[in-house]
Amino acid sequence: MLSWYYIKGILTLAGIYLLPVLGLSLLTGFTGLFSFGHAGFMAIGGYTTAFMMVKLNLPLIPSLIIGGLFAALASFIIGKLTLNLKGDYFCIATLGFGEAIRLILDNVQYFGGARGWPGLPLKTTLTTVVIIDIIAVILLRNIVNSRHGRNMIAVREEELASSVIGINVFKHKMMSLIISAFYAGLGGGLLATYLGFLQPKMFSLVRSTELTIIVIFGGLGSITGSVVGTLILIALPEILRSFANWRLVVYGIIVVFIITARPEGLFGGKELSFNFLKGLFKRSVSKARGEN
């Protein structure tokens, strides 16, 4: 059962889902906006990438980037219209957007409609995914640590106060949304060229929810948390596959338990970096000394 081929498959899948999760981590964890429509951005990225490769015969990387850009463009439009909404209305709007994208794709016969689009080129390998993931993590880390990233965190903490000290709240929310949609679009493109098959059903509301759940499970405001969360939550259903029907039941219980008992997730606000490890080591050493 544990052949390398099988493990490789799970790792590739986790690596692909890591991209939308990272994007959502920026949007939710660092900017404080919730989205239930990121599967919609994945769908746009996936279908655009597939279109570029199959119909226009472009190579993988440019197709992926164009897919990401299309997702970002869609997010710009939806953000322009709805980012001013208060409370959970933005989140409801993204839910409507995600479902609308799925239902539109269901009706576009050019892309196979609800039956799906088979026979896409299989170009994505574990190596490609890992390289793109590493670039994505480094890039995201730099964004979070930049001036703009700090402004986003300020917006998350207190919207009114940050606008008073001169932060353009709308602009930073928009930046965060566009970047996260770009990441989601990349993820969708990789998924399309890994599975070789696209179907609107793959990008349902449940998928969007799953992405948000992973971000929360890993911990809001932590890139490390998102990476670990993705590895665990994508692998977990695979490990539990022998339970087939029960695994989503367990999944639901875990979500409710995490959110009620440990809302900060695995790594809420903390990062696993070299300095953090050093600090952890020092603390445990001094603790050991103190006990002696």
């Binding site: 959970d88 609308a100 759940i213 989503l248 999944y251 409710v256 959110i259 009620t260």
Partner: protein, 292 residues
Amino acid sequence: MLNFLQQLINGLSIGSVYALMAVGYSLVYSIMNFSNFAHGGVIMFGAYFGFFFMTLYKFPFSVAFIASGIAAAILAVLVERVAYRPLRNRRAPFLYFIISAMGVSIFLENIVIATIGPNFKTYPEVFSVQPIKLGSMAIGRIDLMMFVISAVCLAFLIYLIDFTKIGKAIQATAYNMRASALMGINTDMIILIVFGLGGFLAGLAGVLFGMKYTVYPQIGNITLKSFIAAVFGGLGSIQGAVIGSILLGIIETITSGYISSQYRDLIAFALLIFILIVRPMGLMGKVTEDKA
């Protein structure tokens, strides 16, 4: 013209069932300011309760109908206890409530798939399928029943909210929970009552829906449309939920009658996005102020 009238009647009947579901979303939103996505699961359970009461225990329809309402109410209260109360005690942001609700809804849907199975179940025939002829128009007996029962329940609910002491307490709690607690209203009790009421109506709606169509675990996708209706009418407003539901029902039947039934769901989600952009508080909702 005749065809139009026929569509209108169908729309009214389906809209009235949407209304039974939508008031549940609105009631909870008015008190706790979050969209209770677990409500769909409660409706689905209501449909299954009705099915088993009637087939397994051979209850007569009226008894099974009321019993499933009560069972669903108990379920809704349980959900509040397990998934929302810990969050409420901690004063968690509303987004945690939504995630918790999503977890519950995944759990409810999949526990049905795991125990009962994903198959469609058909209710025994309670009313004859022979429609009532009115001139050249045909009204289904089930449609008529759906409309009458829903109208009675909704009238009762509005009476309860507007004219009784409990209703006044619910209104006060919705207006300001802390102040009403200081005035001696047991707000925990009010929240239980609200969930119970919403759950009871959800159970009834589930049975009506199951009777008209079939019962299956993914019925929650349809309840999402009643949520759209609640947003359309204005979240937090009971009258708004009713009007929004009726309008959505009519829009849907007219779309499927004159354009294509494939676009029915798409129209619903497009309407959701449109209403959020143009008038986010819905047709009758309170104007949401900046809570800073």
